[in-house]
């Protein structure tokens, strides 16, 4: 899932402005595969462990000080939420939320794109069975 220029993004109680995009990636953390004695091809595959990561990239127009660094730091656990609306008439507004652990806060500076910050988080489930990520669409 990908949201470009979402209206509002909040992470661990901090409102993040100038967000360029938020991406939710799902990958197999553990893959089980089995082969048989009959031939060379796999006969079974499953993903019993999945990793859901949330990447938030935003443009930085000003320097970021220690206040932000103290609030959002690797290992910190908290709530992530996002609200996005579509410009197309009749399309839904989306509110997504997740409980996350911050994995990384990285910065980049380029002459053409300016300064940017990428925050990567791991979404965590309450019990392991429930999807850690919830999205609600509200049609106007």
């Amino acid at each position: 899932m990908l949201w470009i220029s979402p209206e509002q993004v909040t992470l661990l109680g901090v409102d993040l402005d100038t967000v360029e995009f938020v991406a939710v990636d799902r990958k197999a953390q553990r893959l089980v595969t089995e082969w048989s004695d009959i031939g060379r091809h796999a006969v079974f595959a499953d993903v019993p462990e999945e990793r859901v990561t949330i990447r938030i990239r935003r443009r930085l127009d000003t320097s970021i000080g220690a206040g932000f660094a103290n609030a959002i730091t690797p290992g910190a656990l908290g709530a992530f939420s996002l609200r996005a609306s579509h410009t197309t008439a009749g399309s839904a507004n989306v509110t997504v939320s997740a409980s996350v652990v911050v994995l990384a806060i990285e910065h980049d500076l380029s002459r053409t794109r300016g300064a940017s910050q990428t925050i990567t988080c791991l979404a965590v489930s309450t019990d392991g069975a429930l999807d850690p990520f919830t999205a609600q669409e509200k049609t106007p």
């Binding site: 089980v32 089995e34 082969w35 004695d37 079974f44 499953d46 993903v47 019993p48 069975a129």
Partner: protein, 124 residues
């Protein structure tokens, strides 16, 4: 075709494979037992051992435990009979001595459990 043991399809819920352990004689190479042992000491004939590895697959935890319970009942007797693999090859008078489940149940699209089974043709 599905493999069977004593005519029972205990492991047909998921994929599994068979491998035969070393056959021949059990022996002690020189100098194993004591410094004066200068020749190979042949002890006895090895018992035929077959290892089965695979995965039990079920739609739910309860269904998986039902499969495990059935196997547990057979292995605790222990069950003795013919082992037939996927290609129809048969080994007579095998005893299912041990069922070793993996250290975790995998819950993904389905509920599954990796395992190992030891079959031995007991000499006594």
């Amino acid at each position: 075709m599905s493999s069977t043991f004593t005519g029972l399809d205990l492991f047909g819920s998921g994929p599994h494979r068979f491998v035969i352990k070393p056959v021949g004689m059990l022996f002690l190479p020189p100098l194993t037992a004591d410094p004066l042992q200068i020749t190979t000491d042949v002890v006895t004939q090895l018992e035929l051992a077959i290892i089965q590895t695979g995965r039990l697959v079920a739609a739910s935890d309860a269904a998986l435990w039902a499969l495990v319970d059935t196997i547990e009942q057979k292995v605790e007797i222990p069950l003795k009979g013919s082992l037939v693999d996927h290609s129809g090859r048969s080994w007579l008078n095998m005893t299912m001595l041990r069922f070793v489940p993996d250290d975790r149940i995998d819950r993904g699209r389905v509920v599954s459990l990796s395992y190992r089974v030891d079959y031995i043709r007991l000499a006594i």
